[in-house]
């Protein structure tokens, strides 16, 4: 039993985080919006060159053969910067799925090189990034279909989050699109990775609140010296501290594929969503009226949190999974970990 990241895991997480924090500033986000760019080409190329997209693809396919526990900290970092590019969906879901196909029609190599593969999983209403994708993984009768972009028609559905480029997709399943694989644990991976991003987003909301509360003065003192403001932010930090270990445990346990691990993922999504929601509202509040404006950066994070909290299964749906586990499997202090249930 050791619930800690290895030195290697910490090193790769830190390198990825440093790159993301260094390049994906809110100034960069604003510049992209001004030019209506979905992807920052320089950053996306760096992400591909660092090998981050292929972290969970098999080594034989040109990937790094790593697991979710290796990647989870990077998903957190992607949330921390409200990354517009689909690093998490590609590396965490689309690429591992493509790697399972008997014939991926060259799409795996294309994806590892940075060509976007979008996801139309049945857990979600719409398809993100369909416009910039070369192909979309779509669902029919619980089977995965690979459909090239030219064979679909798409319609933009405007999200409150300008970097969530959502589309409804019209397409027809056929023998050519059928892959003969199911979605497997994709729903859990999607929920887990959304949870990890929300941990990062929550921490970012706290960090910008702290920075503002040190700077902004009222009654002759920084507002962060007043207990009412301190406690508002501290409460959000407490929620983050008791959601993050759940997310990390879920990443390590997910491959077991049991009801206990599905419930852990559900718990992770609920807890991270609640922490992020609390942190986002605290961030708006600490910034006062400025927190409601376009000019202050809070909205980038609040919008992503609002979206991810309901994506990949709503909190209500995830609660039902937790209740199922709690009422049908044994519980107790010796059964904290899914491995202990056998």
């Amino acid at each position: 039993m050791e619930f800690a990241f290895t030195e290697d895991q910490l090193a790769i997480n830190q390198a990825a985080r440093a790159m993301l924090v260094g390049t994906c500033t809110t100034a960069s986000l604003r510049a992209m919006l001004k030019d209506d760019r979905a992807i920052d080409e320089d950053r996306w190329q760096t992400i591909a060159e660092m090998g981050l997209l292929g972290m969970m693809a098999p080594e034989a396919s040109g990937g790094m053969g790593m697991g979710l526990a290796d990647f989870i900290g990077i998903a957190e970092a992607a949330g921390y910067v409200a990354l517009p590019e689909p690093l998490v969906e590609m590396a965490g879901i689309a690429i591992p799925l493509l790697a399972k196909l008997a014939d991926n029609r060259g799409l795996l190599d294309a994806a590892l090189g940075g060509n976007v593969i979008a996801l139309g999983h049945p857990a979600n209403l719409l398809v993100a990034n369909a416009d910039s994708a070369v192909a979309i993984l779509l669902s029919d009768a619980d089977e995965v279909h690979v459909v090239e972009k030219i064979n679909v028609s798409i319609e933009r559905q405007q999200s409150f989050d300008p970097f969530r480029r959502l589309f409804s997709v019209q397409w027809s399943p056929s023998a050519e699109t059928l892959t003969h694989i199911g979605w497997g644990d994709t729903a859990q991976r999607g929920a887990l990775l959304a949870a990890a991003q929300m941990i990062g987003l929550a921490q970012r909301c706290i960090d910008i609140s702290v920075a503002y509360a040190k700077d902004r003065t009222q009654f002759g003192k920084p507002i962060g010296s007043y207990q009412a403001v301190k406690h508002l932010i501290a409460n959000a930090q407490v929620k983050v501290e008791f959601a993050r270990p759940v997310v990390h445990a879920a990443a390590a346990e997910l491959p077991l594929g049991t009801l206990a691990t599905r419930a852990r993922v559900a718990h992770a999504k609920i807890a991270a969503g609640a922490a992020a929601d609390c942190a986002a509202r605290a961030a708006v509040h600490v910034h006062g009226a400025m927190g409601m404006t376009w000019e202050v950066d809070v909205h980038f994070f609040l919008k992503r949190i609002t979206a991810l909290n309901q994506a990949w299964g709503t909190p209500h749906q995830h609660r039902q999974t937790v209740i199922e586990r709690m009422t049908t499997l044994p519980t107790g202090p010796d059964l904290t970990f899914a491995s202990a249930l056998g």
Partner: protein, 386 residues
Amino acid sequence: MKLEYTPEQQTFRKEVRTWLEANIPPGALPSFDLTREGFEAHRSWERKLNEGRWGMVTWPEDLGGRGLDYIRWLIFEEEYYRAGAPTRVNQNGIFLLAPTMMEYGTDEQKARFLPRMAAGDDVWAQAWSEPGVGSDLAGVRSTCTRDGDHYLLNGQKIWSSRAVFADWAFGLFREPGSERHKGMSLVLFPLDAPGVTRRPIERMDGEMVFAEIFLDNVRVPVADRLGHEGQGWAVCMATAGFERGLLLRSPARYQVGVSKLLALWQAHKDTLPASMAERVAQCWMDADAYALAIYAMVSKLDKGGRIGPESSTNKIFWSELDIAITAAAMDILGERGELMPAASAAGDVGTWLADMIFAISGPIYAGSNEIQRNIIAERMLGLPRA
């Protein structure tokens, strides 16, 4: 990251389980906060634990422990709570004073105090708060006046849990004339020393869980000071870190509480609204979240890490969780919740009322939650002091 117990850890769990099953006293022991008999019954249990070398498994073998890591301590705690074993009457000693003594004590002090503590020969109380000093602990007024190789202790301490029947106390005192965080020392003193007067304080349910301690020229050797003279504040903060962050409230306590809540809900769910399932599930998740956070903390400690200001997040979380668990149980019990267990209409009220009353004190003791939020804001997040 390895979230499986090793075969050795599983064997250890079995060994703990087997020993507890064979040795736990049948039926609940009488309260240690009501009568001398109840207190002594718990002392006997501590003695028995120690004879099996289960008193404190993380301590070095020569002090009565097994020299095990904190993961095994968690496994021990899980089995201890799972078995429903008696509450540790010496928790102030073994969970608070002992780890501090390991860090700040001399070899002589460790050899003299820890084996007796492990055996239950000395049961300890904490003497920090004063009538005028609660959250603002640096305002302590009780004094330790140097007199050769002795101190004369004077003043008044209050809210000392177990002090009604305990044998020794560890108290925070200051040199006369010193102010705030300077000039403080942590001094150990016997509760039956000449000049010590104890006055029990009755809790709202009639138990005497704490006492007031009056000190009138109590003479103790300088050798019974823990840490350097004037270093008392730092020593106390180390104790507080253990208290809030890890040892006082191990996660198994709440996981067992949630298992009881789950059983209560299952017995009554046909007459309860569906939303009650979600409340129970929230408690269940929070207890697991606390366990996971502690496993992460312990994995860090076992690699040589230290408990930092994040211990304050633990204290807020477990105290609020305890309230959530007991409040949910009270809502399930409905009108019967107010009945004392002996009332003929009480049915399966069990100890929920007493548990709920105790949970209410959680956000107050071990440093109020407001103080913990200040610590998080100032030391974890770097917000300016008021």
